[in-house]
């Protein structure tokens, strides 16, 4: 064999190896169970979200904001709403960031319609958003919670909105954070709970400089310990005309003046009434049980959902709700500060919860990062809710000390659900979830929605001082069904409706909520992963007024539209 022939043979062999490796990699990508790819810039979602000063001199600089998926123009496609903060230099306001409304287009891209719609945020330092048809006119309205005053954008139905916060009495000056619309007294009108964080003025924020010694290594933003908590508020909706502060009358007085962030309204006790759960930073969380007639009782301590398994209050930021182990009882998840696990409260029924963070694997996976937005979402459509957690520290200064646990920019976690009934169990699948989870950022908001209606749930993330991230789900997903409900007033996805499906011997249930995760709102359309099933035996919609609509033998892989009364 000549030397030339040996070289040629070696080169040919090498080429074959390379081709084979490439094919294997391509096949692996094609078949990956989870594969998330950031397409935000490609589809036109580019608004940079401002967050105070580079050194995050005050906690307001680092609190960030939420986002929402909604369908504001009722064209059947998801739109995106983002809230924005301010940029500061020292004590000077350099720029008041504009919120952004992106209209989903048929080709899967988005168009910035903020100015045309008139929803830029009125110059407030926005924190969160919740979407609901508060006046029963059939069009989704947008509440923007803010540092300063709240903004309530009434949807005029012609592509434009009008701020009616003052007119309806919901401005509530202060540091407003998480909000959730829900019908507290079953009168057919959506009331709203709005959490508050710290009692502080903008002058104090602007004058603030880092003053807290962090482990003796760095001086960082002060608080929340040592600062006065601001009380949460409950507003009762008076037939869409006014919101009246009924916090005390409803039994929802924030007695501990907890540092409130995430809020979720749902039936947490299984009695058919909507309760409210509040994630408090550094204070016990609240569970307001609905006693009927618009009156609530705070029962978190003895229900097991206030503290961790050691009886300690945690620094809770965001939350998620879902039945992770398929036992028919909703479970709760709260995201917490770094070097403390985020907490999975396993629902035991009747409103009792048990911290199973360690046994479920959630504790170890979430111990290091500082966590915010979160969601239970069946990304691979196998019928089990996976768990997404957005992370990012609040102190940029920690990057100067690699010996500390964690960095300022942190990656998003994806925990795959491996639960059995009664035994919640998750495993960290972040490393195999594609390029979208690779970059570390100071993440905050996280909301879920199938923006391109391909039957796979996508993920929208916000981060400090950065453009948003839209993670397109390109994984190998199973069969699915999305249910798009139309309410009694023609409103898409009425808040408080519950959709239950039976398929492949399993029952799954999801409620339609406004206000979730960290100061945001998910795609309101219930989405169900069906695994290998290509048919749903029954779909049941329980409308907010208690009536039902049912469909039987529904083919999978579709967006099923169900109208109230049909």
């Amino acid at each position: 064999m000549s030397a030339r022939f040996r070289v040629l043979a070696a080169l040919l062999g090498l080429a074959l190896v390379v081709v084979s490796l490439r094919r294997e990699r391509a096949d692996a990508a094609e078949e990956a169970r989870f594969r998330l790819v950031d397409v935000a810039a490609k589809v036109g979602i580019t608004r940079v979200l401002l967050a105070g000063r580079p050194d995050k001199d005050h906690l307001l600089d680092s609190s960030g904001g939420g986002a929402a998926f909604l369908d504001y123009d009722k064209d059947g496609r998801l739109d995106v709403y983002l809230v924005n903060g301010w940029r500061l230099e020292g004590s000077r306001v350099v720029e008041k960031g504009k919120n952004a409304l992106y209209r989903g287009k048929p080709d899967g891209t988005f168009e910035d319609v903020t100015d045309a719609a008139g929803v830029s945020g009125e110059g407030q330092w926005a924190q969160g958003t919740a979407v609901a048809d508060y006046d029963n006119d059939g069009w989704p309205d947008i509440l923007v919670t803010s540092f300063g005053r709240n903004v309530l954008y009434r949807n005029l139905g012609n592509g434009r909105f009008q701020d009616v916060a003052k007119e309806v009495g919901i401005e509530s000056p202060g540091w407003n954070t998480g909000a959730a619309f829900f019908d507290a007294d079953a009168d057919g009108w959506l009331d709203v709970y709005i959490a508050s964080y710290i009692d502080v003025t903008i002058e104090q924020v602007l004058a603030a400089r880092p003053s807290l010694s962090w482990r003796g290594l760095e001086t960082v933003a002060f608080g929340p310990f040592g600062l006065k908590g601001a009380p949460d508020h409950f507003f009762r909706n008076e037939r869409g005309k006014r919101f009246v502060d009924a916090t005390a009358a409803a039994g929802m007085e924030d007695q501990a003046t907890g540092f409130g962030f995430g809020v979720r309204a749902a039936d947490l006790t299984g009695d058919g009434r909507v309760d409210v759960y509040v994630a408090n930073d550094s204070d016990p969380n609240y569970l307001y049980r609905n006693e009927g007639g618009g009156v609530f009782k705070e029962v978190a301590t003895w229900s097991g959902a206030a503290l961790d398994e050691n009886g300690a209050a945690q620094a809770s930021m965001g939350l998620a709700l879902g039945d992770v182990d398929g036992d028919g009882i909703p479970d709760l998840f709260t995201t917490n500060f770094s070097e403390d696990f985020s907490t999975l409260y396993h629902g035991l029924g009747g409103g009792a919860y048990e911290d199973v963070s360690k046994a479920s694997g959630v504790g170890a996976a979430t111990f290091k990062p500082l966590s915010w937005g979160t969601a239970f979402a069946d990304l691979d459509n196998d019928g089990a809710l996976d768990l997404l957690v957005a992370n990012g520290h609040i102190y940029p200064q920690i990057d100067r000390h690699p010996e500390l646990i964690g960095t300022y920019a942190q990656k998003v976690l994806l925990l795959e659900n491996k639960s059995r009934p009664g035994q919640p169990l998750f495993r960290d699948a972040s490393a195999e979830a594609g390029p979208g989870l690779e970059p570390a950022r100071a993440h905050r908001g996280l909301v879920i929605g199938d923006y391109d209606d391909d039957g796979r749930l996508d993920v929208l993330l916000t981060a400090l001082d950065a453009a948003p991230v839209l993670l397109h789900n390109e994984g190998r997903a199973g069969s699915w069904l999305t249910v798009a409900c139309e309410g009694a007033h023609g409103e898409p996805n009425p808040i408080g409706a519950v959709v239950t499906i039976r398929s492949g011997g399993r029952t799954q249930s999801q409620d339609i909520a406004s206000g979730d995760s960290f100061l945001g709102s998910h795609d309101p359309r219930p989405h169900f992963g069906l695994g290998a099933a290509e048919k749903v035996d029954e779909v049941d919609v329980r409308w907010p007024d208690g009536t039902h609509s049912r469909r039987r033998d529904v083919p999978a892989r579709q967006i099923l539209k169900i109208r109230y009364g049909s």
Binding site: F225, G226, Q255, A256, G258, D283, P284, W302, N310, A312
Partner: protein, 188 residues
Amino acid sequence: MKLHVRSVTVVALLAATALAPKPAAAQAAGPSTPAELVATYKSLADGILSLKRTEEDLCRSILAAAHAHGRVELGRAQAAIKGGDAKAAQNAVENLAASVGQIATEGDNAVAAVRKKLLDGGHHHNAAGEAQGVFDEGFVIVTKAAKAKLLASSRAIGQMASAPKADALDAEWKKVDALFAELTKPAK
């Protein structure tokens, strides 16, 4: 603020008195903290320690009130169970669970706000115990270990609310009773 100004004035007057010229023999002993200031500080120390004891007594009273309330609710629950009044029994059991929760957390959310205020002001009643991991921040009587057990009892009682059984309630209450007795026994 007024109180602060008055205190400073009193101390200043005492200091002026103490620093007034002394007989030659006294001057020969060398510089020392004026006895009047030491005496005043000693009185203040008695006051501070007395306040700390008062805080402890107050927290014992909060626990005792929650415990007494729990005992009453237990009686109500048992009477309701005996009388077949499911609604009243559920209400009483939930109140009992709440009372046990309040023993665990040394009071309700309103007390938590007071505790937070003290912590924000730098007051840790059991600073050494906190450092050793025995107490949660700001807690005066209830140790971490006792708190976890009491919270477990609170949750267990709460879970009985929809279908309470008298003997099961009694058994759980006995655990609470024992913990309460241990926590509130007089200091040696």
